[in-house]
Amino acid sequence: MIELENVAYSYGGGELLSDISLKLAPGSFHFLTGPSGAGKTTLMKLCYGALLPTAGHIRLFGADVRGLDRDDIAVVRRRVGVVHQDVQFLDHLSVTDNISLPLMVSGRQAETQSGDLGELMSWVGLTNRADALPPELSGGERQRAALARAVIMSPDVVLADEPTGNIDWEMSQRLLRLLIELNKMGKTVLIATHDLSLIRATKAHVQARVLRIANRRIQLAGADL
């Protein structure tokens, strides 16, 4: 699905990430941790084609990112659902429209009429906020809407950057259960988080690998979690 081979990245100063090799196999479940500023968000951006590596190779669905044009990147993003750390919505459209935006822009708006959208809205607990505008949502509601938007296209891969940053334990458990359910349906999942208890709670339900960024490199965290 997503493969990184000796990847390095720098924003212009020194290298932020070096010699990263990583393979997100279909159906795998990964956590990504590391101190703030270590480069978790940066690594995620590399994984959905928002940044190009300064060294090494990244293959998205078998194609080298350097060979992709803007339209190819758009198609990749339809297969990768992303929950961004700083979620942005179209503030003039309702929550429902924002969640179904990926369907709209890929010419699948007919599916917005199906029951799946309503089901998804109730799963993330936003049914009674359906007609609200994004600026009217609480931080947690925004993150739930972001997750709903990330999975509505039924993507092959879900990348979630701090998806539980603003929500209570109860709700983060629910979100995680949704991600686990998606993983059981065969989707590849990568979650960046600081929340170690969340990782522990998840490991009871699914076989998850924990990756940690330390000293610019990526390591597989031990069983000590």
């Binding site: 928002a50 803007r70 758009a74 993003r77 179209l90 459209l93 822009v105 938007r149 296209m153």
Partner: protein, 300 residues
Amino acid sequence: MFNTANLSALVAGDRQADRVVPPTGFTAQLTLFAAAAMAFLAVFALALSLAAGRLADRWGDALARSATIRIVAPLDQRGAQTDAALSILQTTKGVQSARALSDAEQQALLAPWFGPDLALDTLPVPRLIEVIETAEGMDPAGLRLRLAAEVPGAVLDDHSRWREPLVQAASRLRLLGWMSIVLIAAAVAAMITLAANAALAANAQVIAVLRLVGARDDYIARAFIRRFTLRAFWGAVTGTVLGLLAVLLLPSASDAGGFLTGLGFQGIHWLWPILIPFLAGAVAFAATGAAARRTLKELA
């Protein structure tokens, strides 16, 4: 990138795609107004070009095929010389018909200057012969030589001396009219480009979100292109209708008014202004497309 399939999608409309870009009230009105004003001007430029074209054709054609011979002779020889000139003309190649003006006709020609009471028969006023040429035209130099030999008082005026500058002026006027239309189209393109760039810049965040959820540049561009094309089109429709009304309200053509009152459309030419809104739409389509492509390429 923008082919005919896109064009039909554009005309058919895509309410969803329209909604993803937030509506813009005030700038939309400005674009409409500017398009209307430009279309209004274009109607007049078009009327000017077409009228100047008619004038150039008329002068070039009718006058080119007529000439005048003046018989300047003492009263007692005038009749004989006129007859001699007419008989030469009958055998001149390229002359379709020739006829001496009657006293009454000459009087009508002179009346504006000397009043209606002029007694022509007592004055040595030259006799005028009106010559109509065939389509092939005659050879004025050859005719002058023959007239000089047999009719000493005959002066041939083939009108070219004063006709050419007039035809030239009319052609220039027509050229200016068409140039104005080109300039108006260019100004519309510039105005739409500015407006589209402003709209694209104002919606940078919207565009970023659309890209992140997998929208192609094409899709995003279309939302903008459709807006500006429709605004330019409907603005131009309004301006064209107003311009045509203004042309209709001009005093109708008369002999006395000459060129000025001939400014307007005739017959099939009334159909030309219909093209203006479509031209405005096409210009807006191209300008917005270019602006969108340029802006989107620069975004991550």
